[in-house]
Amino acid sequence: MSLTLDATLQANQDGLERHPIVDITAQAATTAIPFYGSLLTSETVNEKSPAPPINHSSGRICGAYVYGPDGSAYSLKYIYSDVNRSYYTTATFALGTYNAIGVSLCELVDGNIGLVWLEQNGTTYYLKQRIITVAGTAVSNATIATLSSLSFMSGPALIRDAETNGYTLIYTKISGSDYYAYKRTSTDFATWASESQLSIAGLTSTWKLFDPDLKQVTNYDYVLSFAVVESVGPNGEELSNIYQSISTDGGANWGTATKITNYTQYSEIATHPVFVEKEENSGYLVINEKKAALYCNYLTSGWPGGATAYDKVQSMHFDSTNGKIYALMDVKTVVQIDVSTWTITNSWSTSTTPALHSFFDYSSIYFWRMNHSAGQYVVIGTHTSPATNFCQLIDGENNTITTYAFENIESYSVTANVSGWSSTANTAMQGTFIDLTNNRIWFMFSDGSTFYPQIRIGYISLTDSGPTYEYHEVVTDSDINDNELTGLNRYGEIKVYPSDDLIIINGYGSYERSLAIYTLSTGVRQKKYKYSDYPQFPYYGVIGNHYKGGKVYGGVYQYTSLYGQENIRGLVIIDTETDIITYSRPSYATLDDYKLGRFHEMADGRFLIASSVSGVVIYDPVADTWEAYNSTTIPGLNTDFNSIYLVDYDETNDLIFCGGDSGVDAISVDGNFEQAQYSVATYAGGAWSYGTASNLVSGVVDYDASIVCDPTSYGITAFWVNRNGTEYSIKTGSDTGEFSLKDYIVRGKAISITRSIDGNPNQLSFTLSHGHLFDPFNNTSAWRSILDKGNKVKVRFGELISDTEYWQDQGTFHITSKKLQYKKGQYPTIQIKAQDIRYLWKDMNIVATDYYDGQQPDDVIEDLLTDNTSLTVLSDMSVPTFDSAVEVDIQWTNTGLLDCVQQLCDRFGYFHRMTVDNKFSCRKIASDNSLDHTYTNSNQILSVSPDDSFSSFTNRVTVEGAERDYSEVLYTEERVATLNGTVGWWGFDKDFTIYYSTDQSKRVRYPRLKVIETTTSIGFELAGNISEQLIDSDATELSCVIRVEAPSLVPYLVAFVAAKEASSWLFDEVIPYAEITYRIGTAICNILSVGIMLILGACGNFQYEVWGQPVGEEKRSVEATADDEELQGKIGYVLEERIEDALCFTVAECQQVADHELFISTAQQKRLSIEKVTHLQDEEGDTIRFVHPYSNQNMDVFVTELTREYVIPEAGSSEEASCTDHIEGWYLS
């Protein structure tokens, strides 16, 4: 359906007298808050304590912060924007060597800026002031007061009273053992009155007050916000909350303090409040939420299973490349945590897509921390029966799961897919390890337990694409006893050290345990340490192993005073060259069992070690020193933190990650986590109330934020401190809402929009001035993030008609690239390119879509987009019912989202598009669409160019599909099974059930038995011979029965033996006269012996083959052809294009597609391009009637591509077309 314009605009567009107008706006692709922010400067000197910024009467934003120490000197940095708030300029005011604490500023009556700040020198504080111009030129400075012998002071906060133009500053300080807020006032910002203590009810005098913030709101009330330490813990930890007091008389009297936040534990507290009035009766309160550690457990938003879920961690690691933590829980679930935002970004369970195998729903499944994952991979192996030799591998970045099944698990319908692996009795997987150096997943198996103890270690390459995976065995070690093997069962660990060419395994438990070292490249065992060979080796074994510089480190599993090991505690150190075993006992506590477990070596060579009794431990192997991080050493840390089993480290941000009984925790080596949050403030009934706090910034070490609201747009600009290791920097971020780019459009450069039916996203390009301000690398610019990649750009074209603006949307796009060049003497313009949202769908690979069974194509498209994008059917889509639609049966796997949509559109002769009002839709490609627009003359035509240069000579299209339903087919007879065996004189009568495939799924019809080898002997000949027959009795055709019968010769044997025994009594006959003996008895006996031997010799092998015709199911192919007989006749050739279409199920449907494709092919031979004056009604997919410029005959054109260009001319008049439509189309008639 064509676009309908406003009637006035339509009339204007039909004419040639235009007054075009253009509007382009930019905004963040999603919400700007929480801010990621940009560094204000590239300084390496610390920047701290940003003052609450102010709106200056000139329109500028003004602020200040503390800079230093630079060497030993501090400075104040004053920052101010231009009146358009587009960039910042900084002025520096050197202070001395005293520690500058806080700064505040206000606009003075004359437009200058007044600054007040605190400096600290030991117990002496200096309250100082400075006046500067708004452009940062110093005017005057003075010391307001010197306050001596103080152990604490905080502030100041400064305002100018909008009603009286007087100035008030407030600070807090200690007085004896009490704390109070004080004020000083001035009428001229030159002379200050003495301090006076504020009388605020509702506070306990011994509560420490700090971080005061003072603002005046529209009704002239003073709003004083401050932080209060309500209690101090045994280790000096402080519990603080935010309070507020209001003065309705210019600061003379103050209302009872109101508690704003309600933190109740030392582990999470609030500090640094900043109140900002947005407009009358509404505003924001910004605070710091300060935490000793970050916790991610079942209480965390997004935790799979919610508050009832289990959160005991069984494996955990940090992917430093992608900044993600992966944690495997005891039951069912793997979570992915984004470290920068400390949010759960993905999870996998038996109910996700992709899903873990349903086996993991088994409630008694155990992992026993046997899995060592790394990088983006999470390996999930278990030795819980029946899946003792089964594991899955999650690729967290690509969101895929690979299954390695070493054997069939019939109860779970698991079919083995690993070759090169064999099992013996009781084979079980005991450990896994991801080796990123060589892209391998390693497995440690134990065999046989008591009877045939054996350890086997091997790997599967991560590059092996399957579906069958090759197992490569490296180690086979039978020199292991049952005790050692039991130590590996559940409590074993395998670690691979590729750079050292080593594999080390260890176990621990209640009996004698061992640690073994193998050469990775050969599989040969180098060493094995156990008590009976090395009395200094811990009798009960070690938890964890770590190899470094020829030494193996491990934690003593359990202290014992037996076996002469009464002095063995803490960390065992094995020198593998000398076999000397020594110990290091942690210095942070005096214990028998330090429970040192998993190791992680940090970049500086120190070891991060998990301790289930002391939290996280750091050991320096060079200096032999210890330190511990737990609730004792870090005030405010939860006691849960003391029981840690798994550790990892973020070298970039100095973060320690821990896995224990309560999810994943993180602590910073550099201090607490602090994150700025904000609440919406509402004034009603004489009081301010606050909504739920949300993150103002995304970083977890981003705090002390101050914000200012634009007085017109109410957009927020924020400044805050970002801590990176030990460096502190000021960051800034803005929520500009829709930012108008209209004033920066460069004249003479086209704003170009291309929309096509070819399936590519709509394209937008334009050029802006002020490139230096839009430059993302220009730290001083407040606009540098406005054109960030992915940000949204909306374009409108319109007309100014009788001083009224008439607009028509031209689409919503996302910035894909920007280009800017600084060159001496040239003005820096910036070129922007953008595409509609479909550009993301191109790269959006879908592992598996839903299975669509008999659904309409428009429904399938809507479902695809609903499942995989944020679009909703009601507000973001307008998909028509397809003409000649039929139900489709399809499921896509590993296919791009846009490809799925494209296939559906191609099948039914449609193209997909994003409309000008940013809705997804489809339009029909056809020669008989109704006319959308008729031009009655050539007045708007600039040029017409018939051009078929891109067409081919294709004159036949054949489309091949397949029927919906399967048909049964019989394949050529083949050998489908074999059977071997042995029969003998003892007799044989057995039915063998023979399946035609190992997975018992292959169907075979008309099976027959082919005897390759059988047994014949006189014994069997005498007894009736062997019987071999195939009994085809299985109705499912999955198996047959081979019956083998051989007669038993045992009765004959018994008879012969008895006869022989009897014949031994027969006499030989002696003929005396002839001196001859007739050995009749002997002969009979011999004959019987031969018979016995013949019977006993009646045994041998049989070998049979089963042949039959496999039964399968195939979809019958269907096809149809469309011919352009006219062209075939003209050129004398038939040039065919064959198309396979999985969405064609009948000949008629194939014919439909073939006819459509032939139409496109012939239409391409009738291409033409038309350049005309813009008409905002026209779109791609329209059928438009033009007047042929020469013949004056009507010609109908289907618009395949439309490029609309608006060029604002350089100053003055010029001969050019400002607004043009360039149409590529097909001549229809």
Binding site: L16, E17, R18, H19, P20, R747, L800, N937, S938, N939, Q940, I941, L942, S943, V944, K1172, V1173, P1189, V1207, I1208, P1209, E1210, A1211, G1212, S1213, S1214, E1215, E1216, A1217, S1218, C1219
Partner: protein, 120 residues
């Protein structure tokens, strides 16, 4: 007519030649196959270049105007032309010849780029 003001400097002598300050009509036009189309983008002072010329200028005025030129910043221009309008302008060019052997100048040309009209 009072003397013109540029920034905080009131001209000691007005220019001997200055075009009338008039909004510029930005318009494009093109001939179509059978007609002509016009695209008017309206009138505006924005982007107008105004050339002020002096046949002779005392060195004190030269120095004052040159300081504004060297400051390379937007300033307010009050032309005192009876229209009661002032403009944000940028001095984009300022040139002149030495006048005989004294420090005065002759054939001085100043070009002002109009950024916007100052809204009262």
């Amino acid at each position: 007519m009072s003397n013109m003001v540029l920034g905080s400097y009131t001209f000691a002598a007005n220019p001997s030649n200055m075009p009338a300050i008039n909004k510029v009509l930005d318009i494009a036009y093109t001939k179509t196959y059978s007609s002509v189309a016009t695209f008017s983008w309206g009138t505006s002072y924005v982007g107008l270049e105004l050339t002020l010329k002096w046949e002779h200028m005392r060195n004190t005025q030269w120095d004052s105007l040159d300081a504004i030129y060297q400051a390379d910043a937007d300033v307010v221009f009050d032309p005192q032309d009876g229209e009661s309008k002032t403009f944000n302008v940028h001095v984009v060019s300022f040139n002149g010849d030495h006048y005989l052997d004294v420090t005065d100048r002759e054939n001085v040309v100043m070009v002002l780029l109009f950024r916007s009209e100052v809204v009262a």
